[in-house]
């Protein structure tokens, strides 16, 4: 609540998300879309907009856009068309972007996600298909004022979907969580790499304030240059605060576009509504309308993979996992598949989950890799767990073995044999070491005898040390009890 005016404001946020589709070739020509190639090496007359060239729509790009629409619960338009969005900029080779204006491919969808234990629903206004512009690199901050600018047209013509939400988000945090969830849906659907750091997922945000309880919308600000999930939340927090201050001072807000300055942590005015572009949209005469029939849509619907929330619910249901585990294990389709493959091999879910959430994710995180990039096989994980169950190795040695499996892809049994890591469970072999440890640590032994059971752990540790970690801790504990307590 405002201290000065006593008015309590509600934050209203809508997002416009651009995602590059991960097709092999561009949306209107056959050029490669591979990331990181030599600048201007993946271009042709069409994506350079040379005079006389004409666009031809990439069927796979349409399929990916439809799949994205289906994953976001949209209606798929049986008839849609392309339009030209016109503005001058050096990285836009035709001086228009082929996009969709009044008849987008997908509309009226929704996304559900969880936040603070509560299900939230955000409506999707539309998803449409369009083309990327080239990438400008300025010698200075921006085009104006730079000594020179360079343009890489490799990116120009990569297929892009624009997803527009309704203004259903009510806090900067919710906007970030939603965006993360949306990213996951697109990733699961397999239509985009959704890497914010490589620019294959980008987000602009519209934000306004209104007195709580009001249903009217006030003048909104469009915030641009949000390059990470964190900057989405930070920029919106800053902007909400700024707008609140203006209103508290008795000021008025005007519709405008503002630029998020990540380093300074502020938004800066870019252009007012009056200065906004007139894009002069009109139907693209070089393309024919896009007609999609039911059979095509149904085929694509059937190809849709299980989406994150459904998968989480199933993991809880089918494997009896805690919600948290289910959430972590469904972070990527590859991780979830790996989990299921391990369970299929091993037979029990929770031990697999524990092992993955502990060891596997720790190692993956350290290496910055995904599970699909390491050589460890689900069967090997199951074998490892069985070696521990059978007492061939103890859990600590298991971690060591797993790390080697993770690095080399070797079988756990082979690693254990090679390195002589079998657990020593033979009481005869351990008895003399236990006796030596008791003799060397009379104080601790005395403490145990007096009934302080904590000290037994210390003695077990000493035996483990003597055996290079290979002793079966249960057997060791039994021997110690027998000798010190007579039980």
């Amino acid at each position: 609540m405002s201290v000065k005016t006593g008015v309590e404001y509600e934050v209203v946020i809508g997002l416009e998300i651009h995602a590059e589709l991960s097709t092999d070739s561009k949306v209107f020509c056959g050029c490669s879309t591979a990331f990181g190639a030599v600048p201007n090496s993946q271009v042709c007359p069409v994506c350079l907009g040379l005079p006389g060239s004409l666009p031809v729509l990439n069927r796979t790009a349409v399929e990916y856009a439809i799949k994205a629409g289906l994953a976001l619960n949209c209606e798929i338009a049986r008839y849609s068309k392309f339009d030209r969005k016109q503005y001058f900029y050096p990285d836009l080779p035709k001086a228009y972007q082929i996009s969709q204006y009044d008849l987008p491919l997908c509309r009226n969808g929704w996304v559900e996600f969880e936040m603070e234990g509560e299900v939230r629903r955000v409506r999707i206004n539309r998803v449409h298909l369009e083309e990327e512009a080239g990438k400008s690199v300025h010698s200075g901050e921006r085009l104006l004022g730079s000594d020179y600018s360079l343009i890489d047209y490799n990116r120009g013509g990569i297929p892009l979907i624009e997803i527009v939400t309704e203004p259903d988000l009510r806090s900067p945090e919710e906007a970030r969580v939603f965006l993360e969830h949306l990213r996951q849906i697109l990733f699961f659907t397999g239509v985009s790499d959704v890497k914010m750091e490589e620019g294959s997922l980008r987000c602009d945000a519209n934000i306004s304030l209104r007195p709580k309880g009001s249903s009217k919308f006030s003048a909104k600000t469009e915030v641009k240059n949000l390059n990470s999930f964190r900057s989405v939340q930070r920029a919106l927090e800053y902007e909400a605060e700024r707008q609140r201050d203006v209103l508290d001072e008795g000021g008025t807000l005007h519709q405008e576009t503002r630029h998020w300055d990540e380093n300074r942590g502020v938004t800066v005015a870019m252009r007012s509504k009056e200065e906004a572009h007139d894009y002069r949209y009109f139907p693209e005469p070089d393309l024919v309308p896009l007609v999609v029939d039911d059979a095509w849509i149904e085929r694509l619907r059937a190809e849709l993979p299980e989406l994150p929330r459904a998968k989480q619910a199933r993991f809880v249901e089918q494997y009896g996992l805690p919600r948290y585990d289910a959430e972590v294990l469904t972070a990527t389709p590859a991780l979830a598949d790996f989990f299921e493959a391990c369970v299929a091999e091993y037979g029990q879910a929770k031990p697999v989950s524990n092992w993955m959430m502990g060891e596997l994710l720790r190692l993956l995180k350290a290496d910055g890799k995904g599970v699909e990039q390491v050589p460890v096989a689900p069967k090997a994980v199951a074998d490892l767990l069985r070696l521990i169950d059978q007492g061939t190795i103890n859990a600590n040695v298991g971690k060591e073995v797993f790390e080697e499996m993770f690095r080399t892809g070797k079988e756990p049994g082979a690693i254990v044999k090679e390195r002589g890591l079998e657990q020593i469970s033979d009481e005869g072999a351990l008895a003399s070491i236990v006796d030596q440890v008791i003799a060397a640590n009379p104080d601790a032994a005395e403490t145990v005898r007096s009934g302080e059971m904590k000290a037994i752990g210390f003695l077990v540790g000493q035996v483990m040390k003597q055996t290079g970690g290979k002793a079966n801790p249960k057997v060791v504990q039994g021997l110690l009890r027998e000798r010190l307590l007579g039980s």
Binding site: G49, F88, A95, S149, D278, R280, F282, D286
Partner: protein
């Protein structure tokens, strides 16, 4: 008859019999270009070396028995808005003065594959915007029958080349009459095929929904041969149509009996030169006397065609020409920053007529105007298309004047754009409806200037148009509609 007056199919016989080689023919035409181009300015760029090399390659292939294309070895001229790899392509604009494309238009590929030597790139109105070839940045072109008059436009150079014997045949483009009108003014045959019949890939766009490439020839037979070569689906042009292309020479049957000819009544009600009207009426009488059935047809919405056209064409042009910004190719005039560089480049690179249309088109598409202009125009366009459709239920072809008068004098209409725009009054509806139409000579006026007869067909009814045109040609101008009327007259080169 001189070599440069022969038709492609006549030359075909000489090439096939071995009495003539493509190299001899090409050399003769290059000499003719050398002789006349200084006055007529039909070519912006002459590619003599390339033409001779292509002719040599053709002759060798023929000697091996490998060359079989009906237009193989027969030199052609290309309008300079058709993109040619390695040969500068200007669209008659300063902004592309030195642009050398890295690729060939689909039609150019087809011509090369057939072994037709390309003599060069012909003059035109800048970006095909104009009806007189006076807006070219490379100087005005002149009518070969009276150099004080315009050749028409925008495919003026392509029409002159064929009329004056500086090429056997040529390709032009027609957005509102740009093939048919100069064909009429220069006294030859010119055809705009159905929209979608010929690939536009590599045609520098003026108005994408209206542009179509077509041939200019000395008679109807050559027109059919040229269509056979250039028509057909192209996966690189989404608006090209994947319909089977018939052998158009099969339509070359002189059969007036039962031919149902619609007379475009609304056009004949329009003001036109008395000589033009008389020539058209004579042509219709020839057909009727020989058994054709004439029927008056009304197409009232065509009266709005010119208005609709001058909304849609500039709108599309303003968008198509936005890419000429000095960043990647063509002219770049330095400026203090990028926006000013773009402004300077476009200010100096485009001529007055192009700027006029860009401004018009930008206005038409601006916020708040789209519905009133572009959208409304598109709706009228649909009505017009439906009207034509109904008309073709009862007739095989429609006959109309190509233009209301013959070639006007240079400079006569340059100060009055509206008057210039009106010269396309009879040709524009065909583009708006996407129909095939041909213009062929049907006589001369009192000054000896040729008059054009326009024959319009239903969508993909090129064969019907050709049949009607061939029938009339055989009845009235049996040695070729594009030269019979001249009665031995030579090209005039004295500039008055």
């Amino acid at each position: 008859m001189a070599l440069h007056d022969l038709t492609a199919h006549e030359l075909r016989q000489q090439l096939d019999s071995g009495e003539l080689s493509s190299q001899e023919l090409t050399k003769a035409l290059l000499e003719r270009i050398e002789e006349l181009n200084g006055t007529l300015n039909a070519y912006i760029t002459v590619t003599a070396e390339q033409a001779l090399e292509q002719a040599r390659a053709y002759d060798e292939a023929r000697a091996r028995g490998e060359a079989t294309a009906p237009l193989g070895g027969i030199p052609v001229a290309l309008k300079d808005n058709l993109v040619t790899r390695g040969v500068r392509t200007t669209a008659a604009s300063r902004i592309l003065e030195n642009w050398v494309p890295p690729y060939d238009a689909t039609v150019v590929e087809r011509l090369k594959a057939a072994g037709a030597p390309s003599l060069g790139k012909t003059n035109m109105d800048e970006f095909a915007m104009g009806g007189s070839t006076e807006t070219s940045a490379f100087g005005v072109a002149r009518n070969p029958w009276d150099p004080g008059r315009v050749p028409g436009g925008s495919s003026g150079g392509s029409a002159i080349a064929v009329a004056a014997g500086m090429a056997v045949w040529s390709l032009g483009s027609d957005t509102g009459g740009s093939i048919r009108q100069p064909a009429a003014y220069c006294g030859i045959v010119g055809m705009k095929p159905t929209y979608g019949r010929v690939s536009r890939y590599g045609l520098i766009a003026f108005a994408s929904s209206l542009d179509q490439i077509g041939p200019l020839t000395r008679d109807v037979t050559d027109c059919a041969l040229a269509l056979n070569l250039i028509c057909g689906f192209d996966p690189r042009d989404s608006t090209s149509v994947s319909l089977e292309v018939p052998d158009f020479t099969k339509a070359l049957v002189a059969e007036p009996k039962g031919l149902r000819v619609g007379i475009h009544k609304d056009y004949f009600d329009q003001p036109m030169d008395a000589d033009v009207r008389a020539a058209l009426e004579r042509a219709l009488k020839v057909l009727e006397d020989n058994g054709a059935v004439l029927k008056e047809v009304s197409l009232p919405s065509t009266r709005y065609a010119i208005h609709v056209y001058y909304l849609i064409a500039p709108a599309e042009a303003s968008s198509n020409l936005a890419r000429f910004d000095g960043v990647r190719y063509g002219l770049r005039v330095p400026g203090a920053d990028v926006p000013r560089m773009m402004e300077e480049t476009r200010s100096r690179g485009f001529g007055a007529e192009v700027k006029r249309r860009i401004i018009l088109g930008t206005y038409v598409l601006s916020a708040g105007h789209y519905d009133a202009y572009y959208k409304k125009a598109s709706q009228v366009r649909t009505l017009m298309r439906q009207e034509f459709e109904r008309a073709f239920a009862d007739v095989d072809v429609l006959v109309a004047p190509t233009t209301a008068s013959t070639a006007f004098r240079l400079g006569e209409k340059t100060e009055n754009p509206l008057e210039m725009y009106m010269t396309d009054y009879f040709t524009i509806p065909v583009n708006l409806a996407g129909l095939p139409a041909l213009s062929m000579p049907c006589g001369v006026d009192k000054d000896g200037m040729p008059i054009g007869l326009q024959i319009i067909g239903p969508p993909f009814g090129e064969d019907k148009v050709l049949k009607a045109a061939y029938t009339y040609e055989q009845l009235a101008w049996p040695t070729g509609a594009g030269r019979h009327w001249r009665a031995g007259r030579e090209v005039a080169v004295d500039v008055r």
